[in-house]
């Protein structure tokens, strides 16, 4: 029983990161219909900028984290504002944008690997304390992961519900053509979506680096764990992606009970396939507007 509770808790911690990844990527996908592979690159940029500011400049961790997230935001804006918008202007197909995005991820991952090497970089300065309740244990970092995820996802939902820009984003998600007709600036919406997503994915990157150290190839790990919650939760549903992030976390950590840890991904994959077979539109999904027929 104690083991089971411990595994559930472990699922919550990793699920928090998956939720951040899923919600951020799902927001971009739902609003821009771009299969944003370079999201993994944003992740790497945030992790390594935080590392440089912390270890290279010796700034306090909080400041480094803010710097890392700002770098991620800037990176997201560059990819969307320069590359994607250039491609969209020349009527690029979704395939063309996807391949360019893939190129960005590969380029960034390897540039980072060349500069910093492939060994894991750790972030120092986080006050890690172990908390024990009965037989189960966790750390202050784990709690930070949970609260950051909850806070950011709730803040994002509030932003989408309450602010004008948030409403514009939701309008674009539900029907881009109509949104444009009523005078919503689509380019601005796309840029703002990337800013919001970069804040979330940047936070996920810093938390992951704190927990296990940062490596350049975390970029494509991140992108995979960003896709899965979105598909499981249902495209277009932010709460769906968040809940699905936790489902993936639980499935993996409970799977470890019986299966060796290197097969974690296999467990997540089986959940994914099962959802695709049983509920093709995702657990909480509705079919997203796909253009006029």
């Amino acid at each position: 029983m104690a083991l089971f509770v411990q595994l559930l808790l472990n699922g919550i911690w990793s699920g928090s990161v998956y939720a951040l990844l899923g919600v951020s990527w799902g927001l971009i996908f739902a609003a821009t219909r771009t299969f944003h592979f370079a999201h993994g690159a944003t992740f790497v940029v945030a992790a390594y900028f935080t590392y440089i500011i912390r270890s290279g400049l010796g700034a306090p961790l909080v400041l480094a984290a803010v710097g890392g997230i700002l770098a991620a935001v800037l990176f997201g804006l560059i990819v969307e504002g320069i590359l994607y918008q250039w491609l969209r202007r020349s009527y690029a197909t979704a395939l063309v944008i996807f391949i360019a995005s893939l190129g960005v991820l590969i380029f960034v991952e390897n540039t980072v690997a060349m500069i910093f090497g492939t060994d894991a970089k750790s972030l120092t300065g986080f006050p890690i304390k172990t908390i024990r309740i009965g037989v189960v244990g966790f750390t202050t970092l784990h709690l930070t992961m949970l609260f950051t995820a909850l806070l950011l996802v709730i803040a994002l939902m509030a932003f989408l519900e309450k602010t004008n820009q948030g409403k514009a984003i939701r309008a674009v998600i539900s029907n881009p053509e109509m949104a444009e007709v009523i005078g919503i600036n689509i380019r601005k919406v796309f840029l703002s979506v990337h800013v919001l997503a970069a804040i979330l994915v940047g936070s996920a990157a810093i938390l992951t680096t704190l927990e296990r150290g940062g490596t350049p190839d975390l970029g494509h790990w991140a992108i995979l764990y960003a896709f899965m919650p979105v598909i499981i939760g249902g495209v277009g549903s932010m709460p769906g992606a968040a809940v699905a992030g936790y489902i993936v976390g639980f499935a993996e950590s409970i799977g470890i009970w019986k299966i060796a840890s290197q097969w974690q991904l296999g467990i997540a994959f089986i959940v994914l396939l099962a959802v695709l077979v049983l509920r093709p539109n995702g657990l909480f999904g509705f079919s997203v507007y796909r253009g006029k027929i």
Partner: protein
Amino acid sequence: MDYLIHIVIMICIYSILGVSFNLILGYTGLIAMCHAAFFGIGAYVAALVGIHYGLNFLLGIVAGMVVAGLIGLLVALPALRVRDEYLIVTTLALLMIIYTVMMNWMDVTRGAAGLTGIPRPRVLGLEISTPLEFLPLMVIFGILCLLISRRIVRSPFGRALKAIREDEIGAQALGKSIGSYKIRVFVIGGALAAIAGSLLAHYTTYISPFYFTLTDTIFIFAVVIVGGTANLWGPVVGAALLVTVTEALRFMALSPLIVGFTRQMAYGLILILFMVFRPQGLLGEFGRKPEEEREIGDEEEGETPAKERFLISEAREIFGKPAGQATGANGPLLRLERVSRSFGGIHAVEGCTFSLEEGKITGLIGPNGAGKTTLFNVITGIYPAESGSVHYEDLEITKTAAHQVPKMGIGRTFQNLRLFNRMTVLENVLVACPDQIGERIWGAFFRFGKVKEQEETNRKKAMGYLKFVGLEEKAGELAEDLSFAEQKLLSLARLLATESRLMLLDEPASGLDPVFMESLYPMIRELLRYGKTVCIVEHNMDVIRAIVDEVVFMDQGRVLAQGPPEEIMKSSQLTEIYFGS
């Protein structure tokens, strides 16, 4: 010398990978991240079969193809049923899982250490070991894969693949089962990639998981993209270029680690730059277009009065003897009963009941947003009705899948045409021909003569349809290069080629000039003489008065009236709704 031969061999292996991936990415437009996994599966299966059973290497290749194909099927089946983007996710996961299996299934794969001592292939009792001896083998397999690919893309099957890439809903309306095509081509592509893996295993006699990572998938992407997507020779050119450059990098005095990263960065940059500046790759899909010739053609077209476009005298030649107007003695051809369909709380169509008499032209009219197009979508199964029923003759087709409806004899056009833009005019029509033997893999490969014969008949028919609408001169041009009016005509020719009995025309006249329009209508009337039934969505009241036998008036998702046009026009209430006066 051996080193040069080695490079040629590697070019052969990557050509096979590129050619097979081109079927998936270039011709069908599917994005799959797992090509390196197929490559790896082929290599490991061939190696294991060779090491443990000592079977002939050809059996190992076949085994690798079967395993890769089956795994491909397992991943594609659930993903492609939903939407294309999901394939990216499932294939990326597959790639990483296959890698995990290679790394961790120690008993079989020996993990990171890899498999050593893979036996050399034996041909006619002779062992093949030096690069020079391997060369013919590699070239033979390279050519074989190229021939298979060529057969696929030049067969009716490949034509349908391209149509699906260009416009799924358009292809579906011609009776193509989208999912089935995508799954078949994905499995074939995977199985061909396994051949390259088997060859690599036998050639190097050593394989490890590190040969089959995301990096290698990216390399295969680059091979296809640099050479040119959907060009038969593109991947060969891409492989030759990239393999040579990669090998040349080895001679630079850099540490292997740095070289590895620079290569990767270069691939990333290549993908970005090609997408920005030359998305079609070096060769492009069609090679160079004959620009000048086309301009001359355009001028000639300007001199032909639009009125003489439709050669009704030709109709007899194309359709055979007029079958005579259908009488409708057996009751209505299509019957809708209380059909409803809503989208997120908006009732696009609500409780619609009406019927289409056989051998007549029925006009579906009503203000914008009345639900006319939605009704077409309901009938053709794109958005199946949520309640109510649709009957075609005595069959209920309410829940019939969208790609089955056309096979029953219901064809349609679209307001936004949904042509296959990057295919020629002739191909656009050919793809619509019903019951093509060459659309089945078995047919395309093993009933050569039959396919050829059918292609010839279809080609003649297709040219006939194009003549009928006045586009025969343009048969070889890309659909995207036609003027809007010509594209509308092409969509009609495509509909004719389906040989449908019931034709649903969605605003065939909108956006055309009046002279042109006037010439369109005799043609539609002419169709009735050949046993066709027509339903037409139209805004132009003059047109309705001129050619329609029966009018169905819709507003806000409901049918308000059905009757002869004069009667409907007289009703002041309806005109008020329509003109809002």
